[in-house]
Every structure is written in C-alpha cells, then in structure tokens.
Symmetry: C2
Subunit: 121 residues, 2 copies
C-alpha cells in the first residue's frame, strides 16, 4: 500500500542545510515539483545550526533532519498510492543537495506483509 | 547516532484510531510518558475516518498514520541519542492499541554506516 524511502546523505554543503529559511525554500520546491500534496509543514531551527523539517502529506509524510557539522541529512519519504511522486522527490533531493555519498533503503509499508506473522501475539 | 523503529499494527480497534481527538489524547500520553520532547505536533483528519499525526521532537520525529477500515496503523519513531525513550514509546503504543498482530523493524540511522559505500558517486 505504501513506499517508504529512507535515506542518508553525506558530504552535503553545510550552508544549504544549516538554516530553516534556506532549507525550506529547497524542500518546498522539491515537494511541489514531485506532485506531493502538503497538508501542513513544521520546521525547527537548532542552535547554532541544524534543522528538522516535517511535511504532513495527504499521501503520508516527508521529513528531513540535518547535522551541518557532519554535512549529513536523514530523509524519509513515506507515501501511499502510486510510488511515482516519492521516487521523483528522491531524485530531486539528490539534484538539489548533491551528496558525495548516499544510502537509500526502500521499505514496503503493507497491511498484509508476510513477516507480520513473526509477531503474532 | 539514531534509532528508527518502523512498525505496523493490525487488528486495532477502529474506534481508537478513527478520529483526531481520540487518537491525539493517547499519543500525547505516550509521548509524555516515554520522556520524548515535543517541539510541535500536527494532525489531519481524513474523511470519513483515518488520521495522520506527526510530532516534531527535539530527538527527531514520531508519526502515526491510521486506516481504521483495516484496523491498521503505520508508526515511525525516529530518535537521536539514547534509544530508551523510543523503545519505551513503542512498548506503550503496544499497551494502548493492543494490536492482534504487529511487525516491528529497527533501523540504525548512522552517518558512517558501512552500506553507504555502495552508493559512493
């Protein structure tokens, strides 16, 4: 029913990810271009730098947490329905932040997943 | 640097997860009891039922998406620092929602993860 892209970006320009105002502009653009639908968004500025950003989407959510001192971002894109917008958002994030290294995991969020049976109470 | 608990609950009482006002009360209690620190929270009511809830935490974030028609919830608890509060929150969520079946995955969100080298550009 849903795709969850879990990603880590390293080697990102710290200037791009230090302040809410800079990061927000980029993330708003990515969300808009990828065809995701925003219900609301919240941002938090850490001092002296670092940002948390969360978009509540009609498709589920999109979050970014940054540690500029390490050039590091942790990203989550969780959407229900068509996978297309989430995959598009991920490609746009790569283009915008140009990490030197990244790790991407894709998880299926499904109601009827096989491995659920491992935890039947 | 961080723990991310990704969970699916099935067989949850639909009454508990249909409306923002009911769900919010439980989630606020779980967050408070587990020692997590809330920066802000956002909720969305789907019609005729179903809720998305996102807590921006000083530790990262906590999100819940519900599909009462399937007795299903998708949960994410992503925290930096000590694992204790995230694990405590998960236990409290099990106690509150009493899923008949659940699936839990734990992912390490780390800046210097080994598998990152697979994607060096």
């Amino acid at each position: 029913m849903g795709i969850h892209i879990i990603a880590e970006f390293r080697g990102v320009d710290p200037q791009k990810i230090s302040k809410v105002e800079d990061l927000r502009e980029v993330l708003d653009r990515v969300v808009s271009k990828s065809g995701l639908h925003v219900v609301s968004s919240s941002f938090h500025q850490f001092e002296p730098h670092g940002v948390s950003a969360i978009y509540l989407l009609s498709e589920s959510h999109f979050s970014v947490h940054t540690w500029p001192e390490y050039g590091y971002m942790a990203l989550d894109i969780f959407t229900c329905g068509d996978d297309g917008p989430a995959l598009k958002a991920f490609e746009l994030l790569l283009e915008e932040f140009k990490p030197k290294i990244f790790k991407r995991r894709i998880i299926r969020r499904d109601i009827f997943g096989q491995s659920a049976s491992q935890n039947i109470k």
